[in-house]
């Protein structure tokens, strides 16, 4: 089998305390991949620290949000003809030793998109807060129902994508609530989405974007965003021809 080109996309915003460790952990897994940190307009030394630890760094001139940062990675992957893109958060929450397991279903052409889930047996080690769990549960059921595929961890940002998905998301990636919305979009394109069990740590730096008091408001907004995606209708497979646009 030919060696596949793998890109590991690490979106990071003000993660100078954790980024070095995250990059070093990824590099120490020994996976033949290019590690690309997307410094999303950080005001601290995220870019410098990522570069010194051996990653390639794209610095965006201003903060575009997680969706914009991840899409930059997809653009780069598409323009440089990568076969697989793997998304790992820069805050050290994801246990990078699972990257191999994450890209395996793509290498074996079982899936187009693989999501690392905290809630698939046997691990289920990471326990998030009660309110957050309600939110995740709600979206898990909603997306599973709408996409007719079982998704237990729709907000997980620990993912892998094949060339088809790289092409689709390099052109358009949701900006508002990228993780759950991306699943919907992938399904609209008829993508095969699969979850694999992974372990995650509690967030070590930064703050979760889902705050306790804002959970309900967040849930309503995301539900609307998801339902609006549904209205966009089935997508053609025109974007799957892998022809690079100029």
């Amino acid at each position: 089998m030919l060696q596949k080109k793998v890109l590991i996309i690490v979106p990071a915003y003000n993660e100078e305390d954790r980024i070095k460790k995250t990059v070093e952990e990824i590099l120490s897994t020994g996976i033949a991949a290019k590690v690309l940190v997307i410094n999303d307009g950080s005001r601290d030394d995220t870019a410098k620290k990522a570069k010194s630890s051996g990653a390639h760094v794209i610095s965006l001139p201003f903060n575009t949000g997680i969706g914009g940062a991840v899409q930059t990675g997809f653009r780069y992957a598409f323009e440089n003809d990568f076969d697989i893109a793997c998304q790992v958060d820069g805050d050290g929450q994801h246990d990078v030793s699972y990257i191999g397991a994450l890209i395996k279903p793509i290498l074996e052409n079982e899936s187009d998109m693989v999501i690392g889930s905290r809630f698939v047996p046997p691990f289920m080690g990471y326990q998030s807060s009660f309110v957050r769990k309600i939110g995740i549960n709600f979206f898990s059921h909603l997306i599973s129902f709408l996409c007719s595929v079982k998704i237990t961890d729709p907000t997980s940002g620990f993912r892998a994508y094949n060339k088809k998905m790289i092409h689709i998301f390099s052109q358009s990636y949701p900006a508002d609530f990228p993780e759950p919305e991306a699943i919907m979009i992938a399904r609209l394109y008829g993508a095969r989405v699969k979850e694999i069990p992974v372990e995650m740590r509690k967030r070590q730096t930064g703050h979760s974007s889902i705050r306790y008091l804002a959970t309900l408001y967040y849930m309503i907004k995301v539900t609307f965003a998801i339902l609006l995606n549904l209205l966009k209708g089935k997508k053609s497979n025109a974007a799957t021809t892998y022809v690079r646009s100029t």
Partner: protein, 120 residues
């Protein structure tokens, strides 16, 4: 009668203001066109105010002023939605540009490093 003159003047003022803004390149024709059309419409209805009255009564408005306020309100709601779509379009173009710049900047830096490495 003086009210009629005033409203014609306001309409004409808006019309020439927009033209002046296009001339000074503060507005592009694409966005100015709609305003010119509305200004002319305002002048037309100021002169032929009977038409406006007829329309208002036909639609069931007791007062013509209420009809005018209603039309204006609808217009501004529609305009706000339109402006929001422009804003979103600009926003995503801005993001796409930032992403392109970021990628190009990294590639340029890496290219420079490679050249410097060869020279050194």
């Amino acid at each position: 009668m003086s009210l009629k003159i005033l409203s014609v003047l306001v309409g004409l003022f808006s019309f020439f203001l927009v033209i002046e803004l296009v001339r000074r390149e503060k507005l592009t024709f694409k966005y100015a066109f709609g305003w010119l059309f509305i200004a002319l419409l305002a002048v037309f209805f100021s002169i032929f105010d009977r038409t406006l009255e007829g329309m208002a009564h036909w639609l069931g408005f007791e007062l013509v002023s209420n009809f005018i306020f209603f039309v204006l309100l609808c217009f501004f709601v529609f305009l706000s939605i339109l402006l929001t779509t422009f804003l979103c379009e600009q926003d995503s173009r801005n993001d796409a540009m930032a992403q392109k710049i970021g990628i190009l900047e990294m590639e340029l830096k890496e290219f420079k490093e490679r050249i410097e490495g060869k020279d050194g």
